[in-house]
Symmetry: C2
Subunit: 196 residues, 2 copies
DNA sequence: CCGAATATAGACAGATCTGTCTGTTTTTAA
DNA sequence: TTAAAAACAGACAGATCTGTCTATATTCGG
């Protein structure tokens, strides 16, 4: 019996693989983004995560909440990425710098559009928990645009911020369809809008 | 038994209701757009169309092809609408006029985004018949933008056309999330881009 | 060392999905 | 009038979906 303990000790130098919750979320995040939240069933997630069904329902309650957690993770990581991306740029130039990040993102080999837009397309109920998270993120982004356009000293920061939201959405969707060149088009247009 | 025939004659002054194919497509088009192509099952379409399952599979072959027919219909009607909308506008101003149409569309009470974008979000396979139809429509729209920007006499028609594609996509997506005000933002930006 | 918490494994229920097939009824056309 | 074509009605198969439940194994703190 001590043998078991020994093997257990060897097995867990703190964590050889992440905890089951993390594993589930990693897998769900990848599959949901790649194939769509309605196209991917729970059994798929469980199998690829190597987890038990009870674990999923213990940690997330139901599939809808797992989808929401997936969106939540995307939102959190996007915010951190963006903040880090513009941190070394003078505030006045951050709005334009942001579109460099967008271009980079669309050039990533596994880029497949915006998970927030996908979730809105797939889930028609605006009260779905995942959509509530998405809506908050849109407010956050709009707020950032207001902040950056103010810093840039444009004539009408509020209106310009709205325009930049359109440009961002367009860059992502159009790049999903036509490739990253569209994100470059968007960046160029943002420059036109800001540098005057 | 002649009574039956009589009632049949009365019943069909050529067509009191449209043919079954048309009825199916009407219903599918509405449901697919409103709730999503994966969220709506065949039985739903059959029930609301008042049609038999055999009719659906006779006329459309499989669900994927019904989805493609739904997109095809949207594409056809959009082209006709757009052509009609700009017909009385001088060619040089048609690009901008087009964004008036976009604003109108986003103000429609049952506007819920672009069915083509939705289908791309929902169906991850780029070879899905519905996505092939959508891809063609994007080419068509881009071609229109090239035509209109040429007529407008801008410096670089090709580049401007690409930018307008981004603006269009952004207008539709952002309006789906934030309301038609975003389409107005897009129209304003299109004006900035074209009037010089 | 032991009990509580956590995870696994998988059966199960109940619903729903696409697609096929068999009949019956209605419509249409010769 | 009659035969072929079209539509209806719905059973059925087979797969898949979410969510619950039971039973067993593992992990870990006290």
């Amino acid at each position: 019996m001590p043998a078991k303990k020994t093997s257990a000790k060897i097995k867990s130098p703190p964590a050889l693989q992440p905890g089951v919750r993390e594993r589930l979320l990693n897998t769900a995040d990848r599959l949901f983004y790649t194939e769509g939240v309605r196209a991917v069933g729970i059994d798929r997630v469980l199998a690829e995560a190597g987890a038990a069904k009870a674990s999923l329902y213990l940690h997330f309650g139901c599939k809808d909440d797992l989808v929401a957690a997936h969106i939540e993770r995307r939102v959190t990581s996007a915010r951190a990425e963006i903040e880090a991306y513009v941190i070394d740029t003078p505030p006045a130039e951050r709005a334009l710098r942001f579109f460099d990040w967008v271009v980079d993102m669309t050039k990533s080999p596994d880029f497949r559009g915006c998970p927030l837009q996908h979730v809105v397309a797939e889930l028609s109920d605006p009260e779905h928990p995942a959509r509530l998270v998405a809506a908050k993120q849109r407010e956050w982004l709009h707020g950032k645009f207001v902040e950056w356009t103010r810093a840039a000293g444009v004539a009408n920061p509020a209106a310009t911020a709205g325009a930049l939201v359109v440009l961002f959405d367009g860059a992502v969707v159009a790049s999903e369809h036509d490739g990253p060149r569209r994100a470059c088009d968007a960046r160029w247009m943002a420059g036109q809008l800001l540098l005057r």
